[in-house]
């Protein structure tokens, strides 16, 4: 898909974003603190008619400007918000807005990762609590163009072909019952937006205790950066099993011991 096509996609979002003035009457819509042109569309697409509030406890931390548009670091957290069952991270104005989805079954609703950004955009985290309400926070990211439509570095070098899915990881016990897992997987994470390079990305990473109990589950989408590096905080002590796969059905697994 060409850059022009990607630009069209962005434009389509803009147009859709300006549409729902009437749709807004159907759902009670609080005013978007980030004043994004496509917030209404994002809300309908990702949250549907679910109840939602903007909640300052939901934090999206990142540099205000992208230094490397292929690798923008983001850390999402929600100090003071409990009972989070689902976390969705998206960038309104990216050609492919949905970045990741995270179910912290036995984990804090915190996740660190990097993503590819195409242009300046709000980056949001929506966290659904057990009562069914989405809590939404976010921030603007300044960027000047070109993270999503460029091919991955590894694709150009054929680097990943021998090492696809290789997992490097480590656990850092924080306090009893809480440990940080950091992992890096080798994968091109191609968006399908670069000319001649089909979409190819990891789409699921499950983290389990050694008895198979699910601790957290992560779905990653096209914008997650090449060779993803992920940080999560698990309510767990002891080894963690990582089970992942990509959209072509390749399976990757590893066990990490503290």
């Amino acid at each position: 898909m060409s850059r022009a096509r990607a630009a069209l996609l962005v434009c389509a979002l803009w147009c859709a974003g300006s549409l729902p003035a009437h749709a807004a009457t159907a759902v009670d819509t609080p005013v978007d603190p980030l004043n994004s042109p496509s917030w209404q569309y994002m809300r309908q697409r990702f949250l549907g008619k679910d109840p939602m509030v903007f909640d300052a406890r939901v934090q999206v931390q990142m540099p205000s400007a992208a230094e490397d548009q292929m690798q923008v670091p983001v850390h999402v957290s929600a100090p003071g918000l409990t009972d989070v069952v689902d976390v969705l991270v998206f960038a309104d104005l990216n050609p492919l807005p949905k970045i990741l989805r995270y179910q912290p079954t036995s984990a804090a609703p915190d996740i660190g990762f990097r993503f590819k950004v195409e242009q300046s955009t709000p980056v949001r985290a929506a966290m659904r609590t057990r009562d069914g309400v989405w809590h939404v926070g976010g921030a603007w990211l300044r960027a000047s163009g070109g993270g999503c439509t460029a091919p991955s570095v590894g694709t150009g070098q054929g680097f990943w072909q021998d090492r696809l899915g290789e997992i490097s990881a480590r656990l850092w016990p924080q306090q009893p019952g809480l440990e940080r897992l950091r992992l890096r997987m080798i994968h091109p994470m191609d968006t399908g937006l670069a000319a001649g390079i089909p979409v190819f990305h990891i789409d699921r990473i499950d983290m389990r205790a050694s008895d198979g109990r699910l601790l957290a589950s992560l779905q990653t989408y096209e914008p997650v950066s090449e060779n993803p590096v992920i940080s999560v905080d698990l309510q767990h002590s002891g080894p963690v099993r990582i089970d992942a796969h990509d959209i072509q059905g390749n399976r990757f697994a590893a066990t990490v011991t503290p």
Partner: protein
């Protein structure tokens, strides 16, 4: 374009720092539309029948205005230009010296050939119209480390690396002036987009051994002692140690960016932005050393 020329005046004034040695001082800022990219120090050395220019600034217009400012001081023609390294604020004025030899280290030349256009585009986005007519061009010859004599001035060319893959320093033996390029910053946080911190620290050790009277840093005020070397060294050492420590503690990149800088670095211009940029540049490789393969 004529209008753009008239509007964009860098107001370059040469400052004499030693006998026949002059510096144009840039501001300790980031690139902005206000400063037109003039955040860099450039300079020149006047010989009997040749002027040697060290770095040509961020744009064609800078190079042209630099050349005019040199002509206002001496009628000796510019014969030789040295480009200290690949960063766009140091060499994009080269086109103003089409009739002179323009030399750089081989690593600098190859970086300019592969990344120069992208760097120039990026600078265009940041400073706008000041860049009119500017194009990245490759230096015309290779600088060979060692002693050369140009226009009766004995110069020592010192080839190092660390700030980038090729960092050239020019030392004028008569005045004991060292043009250190971006290996030395002064009261401004160092930039690291192409840095290798270990190499850089080694290069600073090498600079400590040089018997200079005047040191011209790439950014920040000219000094006559080792203070700017020590300041750069202190910052880079701290940066390296704190990034390795953070990675060893399992910190995520954004958490590392949010760490406050020690008070002694708070006085460095643009420390906040540069520190965060440095985390972007350097942390990915450092954190990998703490993540064993499973």
């Amino acid at each position: 374009m004529a209008v753009a020329h008239a509007a964009n005046d860098y107001r370059l004034g040469a400052q004499a720092v030693a006998d026949g040695v002059y510096v144009f001082s840039g501001r300790n800022e980031h690139f902005t539309r206000d400063n037109g990219g003039n955040i860099v120090n450039t300079g020149f050395i006047v010989g009997t029948d040749a002027v040697i220019v060290i770095d040509t600034g961020p744009s064609l217009q800078y190079g042209e205005q630099q050349r005019k400012a040199i002509a206002a001081i001496t009628r000796v023609p510019v014969r030789q230009v040295y480009v200290t390294h690949q960063h766009p604020d140091h060499y994009l004025g080269d086109a103003a010296y089409a009739d002179a030899s323009i030399a750089a280290l081989p690593a600098t030349i190859s970086a300019i050939q592969t990344q120069g256009n992208a760097l120039a585009d990026n600078l265009y986005r940041l400073v706008g119209g000041w860049m009119a007519g500017t194009q990245s061009q490759s230096p015309t010859s290779t600088a060979t480390p060692g002693v050369v004599e140009i226009g009766g001035r004995k110069l020592r060319l010192i080839g190092t690396a660390g700030h980038t893959a090729g960092d050239l320093m020019v030392y004028d033996e008569a005045s004991r002036t060292l043009f250190a390029g971006d290996l030395v910053f002064h009261d401004r946080a160092p930039t690291t987009p192409n840095a290798d911190l270990l190499q850089w620290l080694n290069a600073l050790d090498q600079i400590r051994q040089i018997d200079f009277k005047v040191l011209v840093p790439g950014h920040g005020a000219v000094v006559r002692d080792a203070s700017a070397i020590e300041q750069t060294r202190d910052y880079l050492q701290w940066l390296s140690t704190s990034l390795h420590t953070a990675a060893e503690q399992g910190r995520d990149m954004v958490e590392v960016m949010n760490q406050p800088l020690p008070e002694r670095f708070q006085k460095l211009a643009v420390h906040d932005e540069e520190y965060r940029r440095s985390v972007s540049h350097l942390y990915p490789a450092i954190e990998l050393t703490t993540l064993p393969r499973r």
